[in-house]
Structures are given as C-alpha cells and as structure tokens.
C-alpha cells in the first residue's frame, strides 16, 4: 500500500472486483443538489506543463471554476548558482549569469560586470558603455518577444508567435555573430567586454532597427483592439499601485500598475540618462496594461538602439576595455611574445582579481524587472557572498494574490502576464 501515490489515491478510492482501480464518480453531490460551490476541488498544474512557462507547479483550490487559493511550488530548477559563485573568481561568475535569466543572457552579463566594477571601483570606457547599452536593449527586445509570442499562444493567438520569433531570430543571429553563442553569451568581463563587435555588424543591427517596428505595428493591429484579447486581459489579474509597491514588484509588472519606477531613469547606469527614451506606465494594473507596457518598451528599446548605434559610429576606433591593468589581460600578441606579459596573464587567470573588502549592491533594469547583484568581498579573488536579486522570483510571489477569485482559465493568462523565467526563480 505504501507504494500508492496520492495522485492514485485521489482518483481511486478502491479496486473493482477485477482488481483494476475504480474511478471516483464525476460529481459527488446528491442528485438534484446543484450547489456546486460546496465541493472544493484540488487541481495540480505542472511542473511539466507548457502553460506554466517552465517547471513551475501550481496547486489550486477550486470552487466550481473559481480559484479560491493558489499555492505555487518552485525549486525544480535549483542549481545553487549563488553557492557556486562563492567558489569562483569574479570573471568566472559571468557564465553562471547566462544561465539564470536565459531569455536575456547579455543583460545579466552586463549587470554582473557593473556590480563587480562598482565593488572594485573601476571605470569603463565610453565605447564599452555604448556596447553594453546595445546588449541590454537587444536583450530587452528578445525577452519581450518571447513573452509576447508565448502569451499570445496561451490566449489562443498563434500567428503573432511566429512573427515575434522570426524577429527574435534576427537578434539571435546578431548575438551569435558578436559573442559566438546564442544562449550562453558570457559577453562581459570586468573592465570591458569579451569581444568587440565584428566588422560590418552595426549594419546588421541598423537593418534590424529600421524594419523591426513593423512587426510591432502588426502585433498592435492584431491585439490592441481585438475583442477576444481585450476580453481575456482587461480587468484580469489587477494590482493597484500600493499593492504592487508592497509586493516589491519591479519592471513592467510595477509600471503597469501605474508606478513610474524604472532603474534606467531613477538610478541611471551606463549613461542611460543621456539617451532619449520614454518609460511607459499603465493605469489599471491588469494583464492588458502589462501587454501595452511591454509592447511600448520594445519601441523605446528600438529608439535607444538607434541612438546607441549613432554613438558607436562616432566612437569608431576608441578603446573598448579600460586601461586598468589590474583587471584587463595584456593583448594576446604580447602575452605570446613577452615574458612579463605572459606572467601577468598567467597570474591574473590563475589567481583571479582580488576585490577590496566591502560590499556593493547594483540594480539594473532587466526585461523582467530590477535585477540586482549584491557582492560581499573580503579582499580575496572570490566573493564571500554573491546574491542575485531575481525579478521573476519577486514578481511571481504575488501570483497567489492575483489568482484569488479568478477563473481557472485566467490563471494561465495571469501567470503568462507575470513574465517569469524559471532559471532565475530557482537559481
């Protein structure tokens, strides 16, 4: 008996005369008893379910079709990144960040480098800043495109998924040309970048920015005034501004509720204060406003990309990496021919870069919300503590509140609107 699972037990009160599990009757109430509300049902969604956007498991208590309670279970993808980070040099942590929010790896790389540079007090060059802005905004577009496509599918619209993934593919090709990888980019290094953009790459991105917004216009035509889309999203999963702040939400989730907080504007990094862009803010805090905010953010990211490309053209030939030799490796040619440069290279790679004792928290505006990296250093080359402030994790924590009183089908829409990525939630 002990091998029977609860799932079996829920569906099988016993065995029939032939030894097969008998099934529960579909309705348990007395005949003529139409009070369906009396019976509460337990529904388990996930962890292996396409509509949960990853290995998220939700246990729902239903009364009829109304959700009384939602109990999320996470941790199925836990990899112990924060623990691993304590055993690695600062530059060696960069590949771990690829794998947290794997829908926007380049933006995570940038945040890690910025946090480590804040800890070590390193300034980066203007050209590096511009390239990092480009990396962040490209990431924002691909992350939002995944959100747009999969949410469309969750709500029954298939075509925008194909359009958005076609555009996403164009950025992935650029990302691959720049970093050599589509997913595990590991783009940044402390004090600079892993690589400069290849020759002619800017033309590819210009082509993208010139034509990309047409797809957004088409999605706008399909969704924004579509009565099915509006019916499924307007007034569903509502959070007021006070609740959103109280739940520590960030990113589009917070702004859709009418709170004008964008880290790029409020605590600028990478010179974002010098770019001309707007921060869209919703007013109703429902799924529809989250859609409008994310759609508009893609237009704005496109604007930032165009401005960054102009600056990149102006900075042609300018140095990419900082000239601080504590953190930047000597040029490969010198390391191969010059004894001192080789020793320098060897020591830096084998011993890592020591950070002064202290601590630094740095938050950036990632596609999902405010991603923060918090380093505590004790003077060695490995951090005492590397904390990821995961925006999806904190945004998902309000899911039980959002789902309360919603219909079962709305749970799928609400969960999609939070825009989670389990790699970051479970870390």
């Amino acid at each position: 008996m002990s091998t029977r699972t609860v799932e079996m037990a829920l569906a099988t009160p016993g065995l029939d005369e032939r030894g097969r599990p008998s099934r529960l009757p579909l309705s348990i109430g007395q005949p003529g008893d139409d009070d369906m509300g009396a019976e509460h049902m337990l529904v388990n969604i996930g962890p292996q379910h396409p509509a949960t956007h990853g290995v998220l498991r939700l246990v729902l208590e239903l009364e009829g079709e109304t959700v009384k309670r939602c109990i999320p279970h996470i941790g199925y993808l836990h990899s112990g990144f924060e623990k691993l980070g304590e055993y690695r040099h600062y530059n060696q942590i960069v590949p771990l960040t690829d794998r947290t929010d794997y829908l926007s790896p380049m933006a995570n790389n940038v945040c890690l480098a910025l946090a480590a540079e804040k800890l070590m007090g390193i300034e980066i060059t203007e050209r590096c800043q511009v390239l990092r802005v480009i990396a962040c905004e490209m990431s924002r577009i691909i992350s939002h495109l995944v959100w747009l496509g999969t949410t469309g599918i969750d709500l029954g619209a298939f075509t925008p998924f194909l359009w958005s993934f076609y555009q996403r593919e164009r950025i992935y090709n650029l990302q691959e040309a720049w970093t050599g990888a589509r997913l595990t980019t590991s783009l940044t290094r402390i004090g600079g970048m892993m690589a400069d953009v290849p020759d002619g790459w800017e033309a590819g991105l210009r082509d993208f920015t010139a034509t990309f917004t047409r797809t957004l216009d088409e999605v706008d035509t399909m969704f924004t005034r579509n009565s099915i889309w509006c019916g499924r999203t307007q007034g569903v999963g509502v959070l007021t501004a006070e609740e959103a702040i109280n739940f520590s939400l960030s990113g589009p989730m917070l702004r859709a509720s009418g709170v004008d907080y964008d880290v790029r504007k409020d605590r600028p990094y990478l010179g974002y204060e010098t770019y001309d862009f707007d921060v869209p803010v919703g007013e109703h805090g429902d799924i529809y406003d989250r859609y409008r905010v994310r759609l508009e953010e893609m237009y704005q990211s496109n604007r930032i990309l165009e401005q960054a490309l102009d600056r990149l053209a102006r900075l042609k030939g300018a140095p990419l990496n900082t000239d601080d030799h504590r953190v930047i490796l000597p040029p490969k040619g010198r390391a191969m021919s010059d004894m001192e440069a080789m020793i320098h290279h060897f020591k830096q790679v084998m011993e890592g870069i020591p950070a002064p004792a202290g601590e630094a928290y740095l938050g950036v505006e990632n596609p999902k919300g405010e991603l923060g990296y918090y380093f505590v250093a004790d003077g060695t080359a490995k951090p005492v503590r590397w904390r990821i402030r995961p925006p999806s994790f904190i945004n998902l924590a309000c899911l039980p509140k959002l789902c309360e009183g919603a219909l079962l089908s709305d749970v799928i829409a609400i969960n999609a609107s939070v825009d989670i990525v389990m790699g970051e939630i479970d870390r």
Binding site: V6, R69, I71, E123, F247, S248, G358, Y361, A397
Partner: protein, 209 residues
Amino acid sequence: MTAVAPALSPSVDALRAAFGSAVLRAAVSCGDSIVWVAADRAHEILAWLKNTPGQTFNYLTDVTAVDYRDPDRPLEVSYQLRSLSRKADLRVKIPLDKAQPLAVDSVVDLWRGADWLEREVFDMFGVTFTGHPDLRRILMWDTYAEGHPLRKDFPLRGNFTRAEQTRQALAANPEAHYSMEELSIADAFNELPEDMKRRLLDGQRGELR
C-alpha cells in the same frame, strides 16, 4: 561610477536620534550606506523607516543574508530598502550571533514582498523569521535533510554522499508531493488508506522506509 566622496545617508543620523544604542554602527561601502541594528529592535526600526515622513522607505528591494568565512563573525540578515519618492537607498543589516538560535522578527506585515524572500533566507541560511505566516522551505523541498546550503559550514557538494543522495531520491515518498493543507482542499485525506493516513498524521512525510 564616478569617484564622488561617499557620504553616509542622512537617514542614519535620524535613526541614531530616534533609537540611540539600538543602532550599532554605520558605514559606507562602494557608495552604499549600511547601518547595523540590534535584532531585538529591528522590526521597530524597519517600520519606522517605512512609515516616518521624510524617510518613506516604502520599497523593499531585497532581503538576504551573509555568512562570512570567518566562523566567529556573526551571520548578517540584510534588508535593501528604497524610497521610490526620494530615490534614496539604505541597507539595514542585523548581526546574529551564530552560537544563539538564529531568529529575527518577520517584516511581512510591513512589506508583503518579504514573504518569499524571508522564506528563501530561512531555507538557505536557517534563520527563523518570527511571525512569518508561512515559513516553509522554498527552493529546496520540505523534507530536505542536509541543512542550509548557503551556510559556510555546508560543503559545495552537500552534506550527504552522492550515493546517499541517490538512495534518498530513489526512495522518495510520493506522499510528500502534497502537504496536509493541500490534501484538505479536496477532502482527499479521508479517502486515503488507513496506513497512509496514520503516517501523514505522525508527520512522517517523505520518510525513508
């Protein structure tokens, strides 16, 4: 990122005036203001920081903890606060002596966002948050028995051998997939066989047999 002379947040002086010796010390590191406060008055201080006009730290950016490599150094629970209106940040840290039970008052009543963050600190460091409505493990499973992974006395590969970890995974009790609370939803508990009910009531969920 420019090297401006780091200045301590004016909130620290206000805290010292209001709470005196409960404010243990303050420092600036990499431009961030940090203030250490006593654990027994931490909730009071955080509520004051949230609600006092002129402070209004209404946004709880993050809750985490730090266990230092030096075993004698206290474990620190760290609250990263932000005032959205004033665009100001403050980090409040609570040192906890590792020889004593690690416990601090929960701030879920102030910020709902602290719910999962405190559960994670409990899971990863074993800090108990008094007054938390639902203090369970969150990233590790309920019956995880190896300890608290982000503590420095927890080895990278875990406390159990790989063979033991595999044995436990294979012998995992499927009853552990639902909590008692969840089983009560569908009244499923009454449908369970007698021996399963008995073991669940004895709190033997996930026990090896």
